[in-house]
């Protein structure tokens, strides 16, 4: 993944004047991918037609102001047909879908496209030129091409590229391009975190399912995890102390920083703070429960009077004089 590849990005000078501006700048660019986009691509790959080797789609996201950073937030599938000689991409579909997406997410823009095969061929170049083109494409910004291999049983390899023009004459430039690999990073939103945590919880599960946890279960799990980590750290430290494993300065520093975070408070202060807080919490809990009972009571009384009036009223409306029931709410 990211760690496997190391990058040195050299911006190639743009072709000289007589070339039409199909390709944007090739300056350094870093790509951030949100987990949601990756999930979407995988889903699409699962739903491809049986005879298709790869599927493609459009990437949506936001660009930083200077254009040096692209955040891929969302994507949608686009149908295409590939044969030995030619490739057909459903452009109308792409346009309709883009319009629909922009309506719901006005902040996101077209940033590039994805394919679910690591291969880069002539067709890739053609499609890339479409996405990078002036007008409908991402011009003057570079279009990002993301490949994600989805071969069963193998690692999922993700690569990101931008392109620059290459070719000896106009025609060649139109149907070829040079893919320049760019580094990427997978980004996790704060909002995604709780969801991702739960999703990740299912990964060691035979059935690949997990049910939504309650707060108290989550707390229990978190505490168990912390205890486990403390055990591991304790084990590691004692091994280092006994000289069984070589120590690491980084870990040592990290542990020291962490230990320094422990607050220094007098025992009486802790006791006082604890007592006031626990009283607040318990009081609120008590009140909440009282309110619940009261509401239940109030509703029962209301329905009781209703039954009383409905049974009495229609028969002898003149005589029915329901006692004013005060269904006390508070």
């Amino acid at each position: 993944m990211t760690d496997q590849d190391s990058y040195i990005h050299l911006a190639r000078p743009l072709p000289v004047v007589n070339v039409p501006p199909v390709h944007a700048t090739t300056g350094p660019l870093s790509v951030l991918i949100h987990a949601q986009a990756l999930f979407s691509i995988l889903d699409h790959s699962l739903r491809r037609n049986a005879d298709q080797d790869r599927v493609i789609g459009t990437l949506l996201g936001v660009r930083s102001e200077d254009g040096s950073e692209v955040e891929i937030r969302n994507c949608f599938a686009v149908g295409h047909n590939e044969s030995q000689e030619q490739v057909e991409v459903d452009m109308d579909y792409h346009k309709t879908m883009l319009g629909l997406h922009l309506k719901a997410n006005p902040k996101e823009v077209l940033v590039g496209w994805y394919a679910t095969s690591p291969e880069l061929n002539t067709f890739s170049a053609l499609i890339q030129n479409f996405y990078a083109s002036n007008g409908e494409g991402t011009f003057p910004h570079p279009a990002v091409h993301l490949t994600m291999s989805t071969v069963p049983g193998a690692d999922i390899a993700i690569r990101t590229y931008i392109s620059s023009a290459v070719g000896v004459n106009q025609d060649r430039i139109a149907d070829s391009c040079l893919f320049v690999p760019v580094p990427y990073e997978i980004r996790y939103n704060d909002a995604d975190r709780s969801g991702l945590e739960l999703v990740a919880g299912a990964k060691n599960n035979e059935e690949r399912t997990v049910s939504v946890m309650t707060d108290i279960h989550a707390l229990e799990r978190a505490i168990e995890d912390v205890l486990g980590m403390l055990d591991r750290v304790g084990h590691y430290v004692s091994r280092v102390v006994h000289g069984e494993t070589p120590g690491s300065t980084a870990i040592g520093k990290f542990l020291m920083n962490t230990l320094a975070l422990a607050p220094k408070v007098a025992a009486s202060d802790v006791e006082r703070m604890f007592n006031t807080h626990i009283q607040d919490v318990l009081l609120i809990s008590y009140l909440a429960n009282t309110i619940r009972t009261q509401i239940d009571l109030s509703n029962r009384l209301a329905s009781l009077t209703a039954t009383a009036t409905t049974t009495a009223a229609p028969v002898v409306p003149a005589v029915a004089a329901p006692a004013t029931v005060t269904a006390g709410g508070k």
Binding site: N105, K107, N189, R193, T209, V281, A288, G329
Partner: protein, 358 residues
């Protein structure tokens, strides 16, 4: 579905949908957002495999004054049953069907803030889905504020048959409540939610979680020590309890106020009814004695049921609001209860831990 196999028992949500909803909800927080759920119904288990957001109200409205904002929020909340949205919905589903997505509507989703989703809009949306579109549909509620605290809060709801029947009649008088045997507890039916990953996703997750081993056996810099993002987060160990409780109490108090107003309305109606009925009784006795006199004078008798034309019994106010409000209060109370259970446990733990180190 050609065959109907019993009531819906559970809801299974794909990981993709969870992330989509979470992203959509947090992007507009604290405004309410809504969207469409797509999937399939397999033997009583509703499988939600995809979703798309409904376009929110005009983005320009967010710069407007408070009043404008309020309107925007309302249109977003009413979006699932809005006419203007039908086109968007149909078009999106047509497009997704081309890409082999399970393009059947199985419900809708909504974001909420500390469980404050129980209102007329919610009920009307779900009624719209269950009555006109497809009986077997659900409403998924994603609680943005509670999810930010570390535990994902995603709940699935359906309206109960009793409530559907009452809503169909369109009136919520005490009489109809008794008839349908409807109390605030059985407006909604909650279904258990589980989350499922595809095989490919499981591969990806495993890969993200265990990056290839670095060349050096022990890390040499602090940055390489930061935990992988998919690591269980420890937000649920957070000790700041006051803001959450404060917010909850505010909401609870607001609800109680509403309850009080509703109660006053109901009492006013009861008093009015009694007064009117007393008048009717007076009128009837008067008419009776008059008739008695007329009978004695051998005159024609006056009709005795004329009072229906003379007097009009006051209309009973709708009880829907108070029902929903009661359910909402119950929800808040449960929420507070659940939270305090965790909070007390954490506080005792902290207390014990700090004491020892002293």
């Amino acid at each position: 579905m050609a065959f109907v196999s019993g009531p819906l028992k559970s809801v299974r949500v794909d990981a993709l949908v969870v992330l989509k909803i979470a992203k959509h909800a947090s992007s507009a927080h604290p405004q309410v957002i809504t969207g469409q759920l797509l999937g399939m119904d397999v033997d009583g288990e509703l499988q939600v495999t995809n979703s798309f957001p409904f376009p929110s109200a005009d983005p320009a409205a967010s710069t407007g004054d408070f009043n404008n904002d309020n309107n925007a929020a309302n249109t977003a909340a009413a979006a699932p049953r809005a006419k203007a949205n039908a086109w968007y919905q149909a078009e999106m589903m047509r497009c997704l069907r081309e890409m082999n997505v399970d393009a059947n509507s199985v419900g809708w989703y909504q974001s909420a803030n500390l469980g404050n989703f129980l209102n007329a809009n919610f009920v009307e949306n779900q009624y719209f889905y269950q009555s006109t579109l497809n009986e077997r549909t659900i409403a998924l509620v994603h609680d943005t504020a509670r999810s930010a605290q570390g535990t994902l809060s995603l709940r699935a709801f359906r309206l109960t048959p009793a409530f559907m029947a009452a809503q169909k009649e369109g009136k919520f008088t005490s009489e109809s409540l008794v008839k349908h045997n409807l109390t605030y507890r059985d407006i909604l039916l909650e279904l258990p939610v589980s989350i499922r990953n595809s095989h490919l996703l499981t591969t990806l997750l495993h890969q993200l979680d265990s990056p290839p081993l670095p060349i050096h056996p022990t890390p040499f810099s602090l940055s390489s020590l930061t935990p992988t993002p998919l690591f269980p987060n420890f937000d649920s160990l957070d000790l700041s309890i006051d803001p959450f409780l404060e917010k909850n109490c505010d909401l609870l108090l607001d609800s109680i106020e509403t309850h009080y107003t509703e109660l006053n309305n109901a009492q006013y109606h009861t008093r009015q009814l009694t007064r009117e009925q007393a008048k009717i009784t007076a009128w009837q006795t008067k008419r009776k004695s008059e008739n008695m006199l007329r009978a004695a004078a051998k005159q024609e008798l006056l009709p005795e049921d004329e009072w229906t034309r003379v007097f009009k019994l006051p209309q009973e106010p709708s009880r829907l609001e108070s029902l929903l409000n009661s359910r909402q209060i119950e929800q808040y109370a449960k929420q507070v209860d659940g939270f305090t259970a965790g909070a007390t446990a954490k506080m005792f733990a902290v207390n014990a831990g700090l004491m020892k180190s002293d």
